[in-house]
Subunit: 369 residues, 2 copies
Amino acid sequence: MTTSPFTLYKQSTQCAARRGQVATNHGTFQTPVFMPVGTQATVKGVTPDNLHDIGAEIILGNTYHLYIRPGHELIKEFGGLHDFMAWDRPILTDSGGFQIFSLRDLAKITEKGAAFKSHLNGSDLFLSPEDAVMVQEALGSDIMMCLDTCIPYPATRDETRKSTALTARWARRCREVQNRETGQLLFGIVQGGMYADLRQEAIDDLLEIGFDGYAMGGLSVGEPKDMMLDMTEQTAALMPKDYPIYLMGVGTPEDLMEGVWRGVDMFDCVMPTRNARNGMLFTSTGKVVIKNAQYQRDQRPIDEACSCYTCRNFSRAYLRHLYMAHEVLAANLNSIHNLHYYVGLMAGIRRAIEEDRFKEFRQEFYAKR
Amino acid sequence: MTTSPFTLYKQSTQCAARRGQVATNHGTFQTPVFMPVGTQATVKGVTPDNLHDIGAEIILGNTYHLYIRPGHELIKEFGGLHDFMAWDRPILTDSGGFQIFSLRDLAKITEKGAAFKSHLNGSDLFLSPEDAVMVQEALGSDIMMCLDTCIPYPATRDETRKSTALTARWARRCREVQNRETGQLLFGIVQGGMYADLRQEAIDDLLEIGFDGYAMGGLSVGEPKDMMLDMTEQTAALMPKDYPIYLMGVGTPEDLMEGVWRGVDMFDCVMPTRNARNGMLFTSTGKVVIKNAQYQRDQRPIDEACSCYTCRNFSRAYLRHLYMAHEVLAANLNSIHNLHYYVGLMAGIRRAIEEDRFKEFRQEFYAKR
């Protein structure tokens, strides 16, 4: 077994929500936490200074993208991803599994690993579980993820069982090849599709190997929202409680609220930054589609309850003008706001759990929308 | 006559360069000065906070663009351009003349004003000299420019004389219609093409009316560099010395150096921000084209002599990666650097003039390149 990086501060008496902390090479972060996604060694539209101001404690980098461009060896020359992108707080890197899965026809999965073609120039590439760890060690991330095989929805029980078993064998190879001297954490990924008993088997397999944290993969891949929440609840309940629990690639503010309720500690999603670039802004009372004519002369900030740089300085009318004029500042200011909303929502959730009033917090959250 | 907003601190004994200050409704700015261009109520790629950090003292807004979108009346509702874009230091607005001139076939100039078609939707628009002042008064800029007719290069003496005379008649109409109560300054624009005697006539006409400052227009419109500098020198020499002298739309770092040498106090140009977006970076030793393969593994900042946010935190290799990956952060970081370079160059020029060693400063500037 391994020493857990997770410290539990408070278990809600109202639900499975919990308030904790994860220790890494680049300091600790408080959970439940939302991790902004920095696909190509940058969280799109914001500077590291912006992320500090927003209060982001940990970000996510994409192994697949960095492996292809600029390459993990180049990043290693610069002292790793932290130094390369000037971010001094924790970084979690995914394994590349989900991106390769997303390539579909361009990828071929075998026992040995994943053969795929670069989305940039079509060149033939190959990533084994061992490669995925080696690449993430070169990147120097604080939390590495095992290479997994992602299961589409819908999938038959047989497909799901085979794919999940392969993920478990790959997980063992990842753990075995990992250099334990670096202090980098390695998380296992629980697959199992929409079959609770296969999720249980996946957890058992991973626990036998032993990881520094456990992630739920293969959710929010097209299944109905109810099924996603139900599977999250069932899987989270089966997870070991003395390690961090991470729900990968999820989701909306409502998804975060429901994930925390069911015991999830960590989340990541491109939604706040991607939607920002498309002019869709999150507020405590719902969504604002900034291009709408109703905002043309609206002197209010995006969210009157928000203290971000954007809301402190700019009106909806100005942000609408920037968006309509295709100004790059629109992406900056909208991304700052949406990330601040997500990070601030998690800070509110953490305080509510500490004070054992998360149930009430969740009710107020929905009542305002 | 009018009271000049200009205070002369130091006249170089080495050349026509001078060190001064201009007082406006939103405070003073030090000259010689470079004004970053904020065409659509935003200096492309940077926030107002970035501009403060860079040390920008005054920015330029484009009347033509703001008139078309979002409209001067909307901006007036927000308390003017300063409040709309959250910039609390001085703003100079151009008159729209140059942009209308740039539309060429879409514009028709008559005694009354300029009829033109919107570049956005082709709708018919009209701007008289009186309209140009009215629009700039609505924008609430600190320095307004008279509507002028820009003369192409080459142009015959007859064309140039007629166009310059029309600019003078328009200037009188601008001055007469201006509301003097607002404290907004109004600058006249000296045309005259490449004919020094017509430039002299233009100055005489403007001086008879009396303005708060005098600009040289119609330079850097395609004429050879030598001719531009020669015409700048001849025109600047004829300008009244107790008012600010502004060379419109110029230029490269070398152009700024030569303009100051010849007595110019104010400059604006899209070059630092436009080139930044195209990956062309200015340094004390020359240009860096960041996409070039030679920077792929270059761990140095853009300019080791630079103290901007970009150079303090990021390598050439990282900036190259962002540019190649089409990341929006490339535009931000490159724009911050290039504007810092321009603004910093002017700060160095001001110190050199104060210490009466501008000649040596200029020699060192060229020696490093």
